[in-house]
């Protein structure tokens, strides 16, 4: 009798497997069509670094050299001069060698004004390693192209279609901020 029970178990198991497989057929594929269709990756991931400029086109960067100092790979090179019109400094040169950058985002954490940020853009691959030496124009361009970026100081920020820079809503912030806020509100209400 146990033989028949065993056979019956096997038949049931195979039937369950067949049923699962058939259900899978109807599900949409999980494939990323990457080179043809770029996925939206969150800005909190460290991919490209970008320099953000203010809405009026001036640099956010105050040339404080914090990022240059903190960079463990020492790939940031900054040249600055005294601001002729007021106090502080202006950038003359801001080079970042992506070939040696280890994407640790220490520079992003160190920046006091959230000028250097992480963005969702990630297509680094080039044919010549010399192309990976980015200059200020390139970093500015990436910053202008970015719709959304992240820095620990200001959180996720985004550019509205009109060109205004605003803080992103809590749902888009990392670390489950929206849930935390919701809980806090619920706590107050109760």
């Amino acid at each position: 009798m146990s033989l028949f029970a065993e056979v019956w178990d096997a038949v049931k198991a195979v039937a369950a497997g067949l049923e699962t497989v058939h259900r899978r057929v109807k599900q949409p594929p999980a494939t990323e069509f990457y080179p043809y269709k770029k996925p939206e990756i969150p800005p909190v991931s460290v991919q490209f670094l970008a320099l953000i400029q203010n809405e009026d086109g001036t640099d956010r960067c105050v040339a404080c050299l914090q990022c240059e100092r903190v960079c463990p790979s020492q790939v940031i090179t900054i040249e600055r001069k005294r601001n002729p019109e007021g106090k502080g400094f202006v950038l003359e040169r801001f080079d970042l060698d992506f070939a040696n950058c280890m994407h640790c985002a220490n520079c992003v954490e160190a920046c006091p004004v959230s000028a250097i940020v992480t963005v969702g853009e990630f297509e680094h691959a080039v044919y010549d390693i010399n192309f990976l030496k980015a200059d200020k124009a390139f970093l500015d361009h990436i910053g202008h192209e970015a719709k959304i970026w992240y820095s620990p100081k200001f959180g996720v920020e985004m550019r509205t279609p009109e060109g205004k820079i605003v803080k992103a809503p809590p749902e888009m912030q990392p670390g489950g901020l929206a849930e935390l806020l919701k809980e806090a509100e619920g706590g107050e209400g109760a």
């Binding site: 067949l18 058939h22 899978r24 999980a30 043809y36």
Partner: protein, 394 residues
Amino acid sequence: MSRMPLPTERLVQPRLVGYDPTRPKPWLERIAYALFFSALWVMVVLAYGVVPTVFRHYGWLKSPLGFAAYAVIEAVLAFLLAAVVALILIVVLRKYLGKVQERVGPMHYGPAGVFQTVFDALKLLGKEDFAPRRVDWLIFRLAPAIVFVSAFLLMVAIPVAPGWLIADLDVGLLYIVAVSTLGAYGVVLGGLSQGNKWGLLGAFRAGAQLVSYEVPLAIALLSVGVYAGSLRFVDIVEHQYGLWHVVPLFLSFIVYLVASIAELKATPFDLPEAESEIVAGYNTEYSGMSFAFFFLAEFVELFLLPGFMVLLFFGGWHGPLFGLDPTSFAAGLLQSFYFLVKVAVWVWIFLWIRATLPRFRDDQLMDLAWKGLLPLSLVGLLVAALFRMFLEVL
């Protein structure tokens, strides 16, 4: 200083030929498969219907020259049919496995990638057919031929409609047992001759597996023969008017199903070419067209073994005829269509099983064959004989 190019300025922009993932077109895929099926049908009608009917009608088969012409034409047509079957089944298999595993499958050539196999075949044609220095050259070259020929010869025995067959064999069942066993030789010799440990292991496994599964397969076929009272396929199919054999011979049907999956070397029993264990098993060292012939044989068998299953257990070409004369050409068209549809359904079930079950272990395989299927097939034979006895008495 060289400037880093912006992503939009890159020299190479990725471009997708033939398929736009943002707008998937399942209907295009379906049309392509319908065209595939029609091509298969046309080939079957040509090879099994038109040419034999014409030759028999004009009596050309009686003269030696006519017979030679018939043989040559049929050989070419059967080869083309085999190629069409393989081209279709490979892409269907890949698409189906892709869907099961939540991938897309081939997608670059043709609408939704349905012409992928054509390009694969062209690639294999263009590749060097390389033989390593230590192989046993003659056997190494002969093995793919043996495997392919044994699959190819099986096509002769299939009747697709009444009177639509290439050769009317009185001992059709014996013939397919004999010829399909030949394929095991090709696999074993191919594995042994290449002087490669993976090939050797694959050959061992193939030898053990194919030999042990031939026995229940042959007994299952025998029980059908006993029940139908004939070894001719035409008689067997005629015998199923009223009741398909799958009902009285259910045990034999189960044995045939399992044994034919093992015969196909498909996934629950794909030990001879287990990719994750022994590279590619018996065809490790093969490349180019030699490899393609192994592949071709495998997929022709994937078409033929369900075909025999339909003939033996599912009433072959039976289906509603809408008052047509069963011997007319139009009825032949319709009946071959029914046959192909049944075969297609069974091919799908084979692929389904293949996509579901994990691989057996060697000893489990032998257990199943000798301790499970062999007694079961003998019981099936007994049942067939008993039913036959009642049939005779009534």
